[in-house]
């Protein structure tokens, strides 16, 4: 590799690393997560094996051997500190010490073995069989509520308990606390009626907002074109402000405008209507406000693009049309609009794809309500995986919702690649050193 390549490589590598880590990895990870059942309860870092009362209830539902559960409860006997402490409190300290010196750390698979061992004590002989039984019980261990970090260790312990293979598999499956691979998310989305609703809402959201954006952008661009430049720039600033203001503040202003203590309610009381929340009163209200909130921001996108396209029209064309006696309507319809065909197509395509995945303004304004009547697809992904009132966040299912959006994004990007004249971009550099 020559020097120039090294220079280029060093210059571009930070960007490559950043983009790889936080841009491309998430794309792959979305697909990866969508095939898991990750949620708050399974955690995201793999899990442990744990048998608790819940697990036992579940295990009992399977066709397992009668004594399996009993075996789980009686996992053998081991001489440990805890047991010895109880002995010294309940019986004598010397007894505890003798057991410790002889058997500390030893394990006994059944009670008979331990009782036999206890018979061998020299200094503190335990005469009664019942006492020996009681003492042995103190050292009893159970596999229940014990955590195992790996499957092999867990299975080894189950084998020691003489649980047969079929039951072992059931127990291992039921006691796993972590996430596992599954394609249930896709089935679930396919079968749930709500996902069709989300798709339908997204369709409403995109089509209405887009129409508003393009029509309004066009109207603003054309009307300000015919105005004196000072008036025109005032209006452009007014319409540009929503785009530049932080979304949280912009939506706050809309809340003030539409809520029951706000402007519209106040105005309507002058006409004898009682104040109500014009944003959340009904799904129709909510949708109207959402389209307006997004539209007032989105219109400026078209406005800027269209304005600069109109400025690029040779003024001789416009003068010529006036000389020929065209009125403004004819001028707009026959000269300006045809010139704007390309920017209009671009805006429509670009905004369709970015609206499909956007949810920020809806999240801030209605948060999907009233009910779930404004829950678009992207917001559903957000609510499922990242924030809901139930508290159990379904990362896997949420990622599956997001995967649909990622695929749309990839299609969008491919479209973009086609849209730009790629050959122009890859013209070979002229200096080679």
């Amino acid at each position: 590799m020559n020097r120039i390549n090294w220079f280029g490589f060093i210059f571009i590598s930070p960007v490559l690393i950043m983009v790889l880590l936080f841009f491309l990895t998430p794309v792959v990870m979305t697909a990866f997560f969508s095939f898991t059942n990750m949620s708050t309860s399974t955690g995201i870092k793999g899990g442990e094996y744990l048998i608790n009362q819940e697990t036992i209830k579940e295990i009992k539902k399977y066709n397992i051997q009668k004594d399996t559960i009993e075996k789980l409860e009686n996992a053998g006997y081991s001489i440990n500190e805890e047991g010895l402490k109880i002995i010294s409190e309940k019986y004598k300290e010397s007894l505890s010490n003798e057991i410790k010196s002889l058997y500390f750390g030893d394990k006994f698979t059944n009670r008979k073995d331990l009782e036999r061992a206890l018979k061998k004590l020299k200094k503190n002989k335990i005469k009664k069989t019942r006492d020996r039984k009681e003492i042995a019980e103190i050292f009893k261990e159970s596999i229940i509520n014990e955590r195992f970090v790996s499957k092999s260790i867990f299975e080894e312990n189950l084998i020691k308990l003489e649980i047969n293979q079929n039951d072992r598999e059931v127990i291992i499956k039921e006691s796993y606390t972590g996430w596992s691979w599954t394609n249930n998310n896709f089935k679930l989305i396919y079968n749930l009626p709500s996902s069709y609703k989300f798709a339908f809402y997204t369709l409403i959201y995109v089509s209405f907002t887009l129409t508003f954006n393009v029509v309004f952008g066009l109207f603003l661009a054309i009307s300000t074109f015919y105005l004196p430049s000072k008036t025109a720039s005032t209006f452009r600033t007014i319409w540009f402000l929503p785009r530049i203001l932080p979304p949280v503040l912009y939506v706050l202003m809309w809340k003030w405008f539409t809520w029951d203590t706000g402007f519209i309610s106040q105005m309507s009381t002058y006409f004898g209507a009682s104040p109500k929340n014009w944003m959340m009163d009904s799904p129709i209200h909510a949708w109207t406000v959402i389209v307006l909130i997004n539209g007032f921001v989105g219109a400026s996108f078209g406005m800027i693009l269209f304005s600069s396209a109109i400025k690029a029209i040779p003024s001789s064309m416009l003068y010529a049309s006036e000389v020929d006696g065209a009125n403004r309507w004819q001028q707009i319809w026959n000269i300006i609009i045809p010139q704007l065909r390309w920017p209009i197509m671009f805006t429509t395509a670009y905004q369709t794809l970015s609206l499909l995945t956007s949810f920020e303004y809806i999240l801030l304004a209605t948060n999907g309500g009233p009910g779930r009547s404004t829950e678009v697809w992207a917001l559903a992904a957000y609510h499922t995986a990242l924030q809901n009132y139930a508290g159990n966040l379904q990362y896997g299912l949420g990622a599956t919702y997001a995967l649909v959006l990622v695929i749309i994004g990839i299609i969008a990007s491919l479209f973009y690649l086609k849209f730009f004249n790629f050959k122009d971009l890859v013209t070979k550099p002229r200096i080679e050193g």
Partner: protein, 275 residues
């Protein structure tokens, strides 16, 4: 254009359509300094009490506005500097150097530029948790910068493309290294682009809401956007005038930057921008 038609009907129509925005803007400012008459919205008395959040010490569990402002500033400025400096270097490489894989990088750049980043939020959330960067300002900064980078590189490449080749060739002829040529000859030529990108990515970071909300929800790394939205969601103190004052406070830098750099910003918004 000519003055052959009268413009007042259009002005009137535009004013009517812009009325909701105008009312919102005007009341946004008025309500910062006034109290409405009981049960109404019209201002009746002057007051500064809506700004008390600036000097009152917050109750336990609430964040202090200046800490939050500081966080926001760190977040926005670090993101902005990172995006700009990295775009400065790799934009040049993509515009001028024939490195192996250039075509793939360029195609990737255009694709990422159009990619709707918000669809990645679930995976980014989980990735940050695995990496241990969840709930840190550093994590949000890295993610925000990475997501802004394709746009930044795109813009900078555009600016480098307009610099005449002759400048560079002259430098090389005189025996300067490629690095020196870039630093001494090319960078001064793309200064408007650097300034525009700095401002744009600062504003974008300052306004960002979803990323801090999802990736850094704890109160010690709160930024102004999440602070304000938490305030609005808090049912215990519902006070629109307070919300609006916090909002105005939050928007002051944005407005100042907008007024000062209006022309530069219009350039970048007009060029290949995000919708």
């Amino acid at each position: 254009m000519n003055n052959y038609y009268r413009s007042w009907p259009i002005t009137l129509l535009l004013t009517l359509i812009s009325l909701p925005l105008l009312i919102m803007f005007i009341f946004q400012i008025i309500d910062n300094f006034t109290n409405p008459a009981p049960g109404g919205i019209w201002p009746s008395s002057f007051t500064l009490e809506h700004w008390r959040f600036l000097w009152e010490t917050p109750k336990t569990g609430e964040s202090y506005i200046w800490t939050v402002t500081f966080n926001t500033f760190i977040f926005a400025s670090t993101t902005s500097i990172m995006v700009t400096s990295l775009s400065m270097t790799s934009g040049y490489v993509l515009s001028r150097l024939d490195i192996p894989g250039r075509k793939i990088f360029l195609a990737g750049l255009i694709m990422l530029h159009a990619f709707p980043t918000i669809s990645l939020i679930v995976a980014i959330f989980l990735t940050l948790q695995i990496m241990g960067l969840y709930n840190t300002l550093l994590g949000v900064i890295l993610v925000k910068s990475a997501l802004e980078l394709p746009f930044g590189v795109w813009i900078m490449k555009g600016f480098y493309d307009t610099v005449p080749w002759e400048i560079e060739m002259a430098g090389i002829q005189d025996g300067a290294s490629r690095f020196t040529v870039w630093r001494k000859l090319i960078l001064p030529q793309v200064q408007p682009g650097i300034a525009a990108l700095l401002i744009f990515s600062f504003l974008s970071g300052w306004s960002e809401f979803v990323l801090p909300l999802v990736l850094a929800p704890s109160s010690d790394v709160q930024v102004l956007s999440t602070y304000l939205s938490a305030l609005i969601l808090d049912d215990n103190k519902f006070d629109f005038n307070l919300f609006k004052s916090v909002g105005t406070f939050y928007a002051i830098p944005v407005i100042i930057i907008y007024i000062v750099f209006q022309k530069k910003l219009m350039n970048i918004y007009g060029g290949g921008t995000k919708g």
